[in-house]
Symmetry: C2
Subunit: 196 residues, 2 copies
């Protein structure tokens, strides 16, 4: 379609994005209302007003919509962490602020989000988003190590895996004070000058 | 059946245990060979030589056998940790030895064990076994705290959740040296006198 005017291509692209967004939003609403198993393609078509045939051109099944939804959530989450990073000065402070925001996000995640994540985590589609998150945290840890605030006797990659796993404990904690203690405990594990 | 002789009841009980064991073992072997989705009740009946009708009296479906298998693994795992505890002197040393054994067990866990765990973790059947593990680690942490080796400014329950999550990072680590560093990093988070 090389002779299509660019404006027309952009219009089509915007339309496709809108259809995807509407589909994902309707699916999210249906999951919130009926749970993961109570969502069908027919119901999604009905709620969005998108014809079933059209819907199937975008997504072959409910799971593929949930995958797109989860990817969008992980992207939103990562963007929020980037914002936190960009407004915080100092390598050590940036790391602490971002890890705190990460623990908060895990703490506030809704139960059905966890169900979806549990269902999808073995899929490769999710692996890429998580790789971005890990890479992002790894850079912050490497910067804090270069600034002398974090240990350099273990690879930043290893400390990243430790931090992300330790902070996942936020799902089981009762309140903000416990989240704060968890972040401090986790950071204590990787800070310099505090090892025996 | 109050008039059954005790020896007869014991014989029946031993027989039932043997049937359960054989079923679980055959299922584990089939999973190792064909993966989680390649296991059927018919195949299990065939491999064990137990009639299908009898098999269904013990387990209604493949998932219930996997649940029993996973429970047995968690119990074996817990017994091993108890042995490690019992042969180690000193509260701080006991905690370190047990957490090391726990990280090792996670590191050596086979990929299909993780699949099964992922599939089952939302079930209540598994929650009880994990509650035992958590309670066991919580006691070790409380003892180490009473001995002055672990912080007392956070509840032992919270530090337990932190340790178990942090050590789960062992699944992503490449070798024994990394596992050792992970255990030390995790312990650094909860030891006394090393917080700023």
């Amino acid at each position: 379609m090389g002779d299509m005017p660019r404006i027309w291509n952009e219009t089509i692209e915007a339309h496709r994005d809108a259809v995807r967004e509407a589909t994902i939003n309707a699916t999210a609403a249906l999951v919130a209302q009926h749970g993961l198993t109570g969502v069908t393609m027919s119901q999604i078509a009905k709620d969005t007003g998108i014809g079933r045939a059209t819907l199937y051109k975008y997504f072959p099944d409910v799971e593929s919509i949930l995958v797109a939804w989860h990817a969008r959530q992980v992207d939103d989450h990562l963007r929020e962490l980037l914002r936190v990073r960009d407004r915080t000065a100092g390598a050590a402070e940036r790391l602490e602020a971002v890890l705190t925001a990460y623990a908060q996000a895990i703490f506030h995640r809704r139960a059905h989000d966890n169900d979806i994540a549990g269902m999808l985590h073995r899929g490769e589609h999710v692996a890429a988003s998580h790789q971005h998150l890990r890479e992002f945290i790894r850079e912050l840890i490497a910067e804090a190590a270069a600034a002398g605030a974090v240990r350099e006797d273990a690879p930043a990659e290893e400390l990243t895996v430790y931090c992300l796993h330790a902070l996942a404990a936020a799902t089981s904690l009762p309140d903000q004070a416990a989240i704060h203690r968890l972040v401090q405990t986790t950071l204590t594990g990787i800070r310099t000058g505090i090892r025996k």
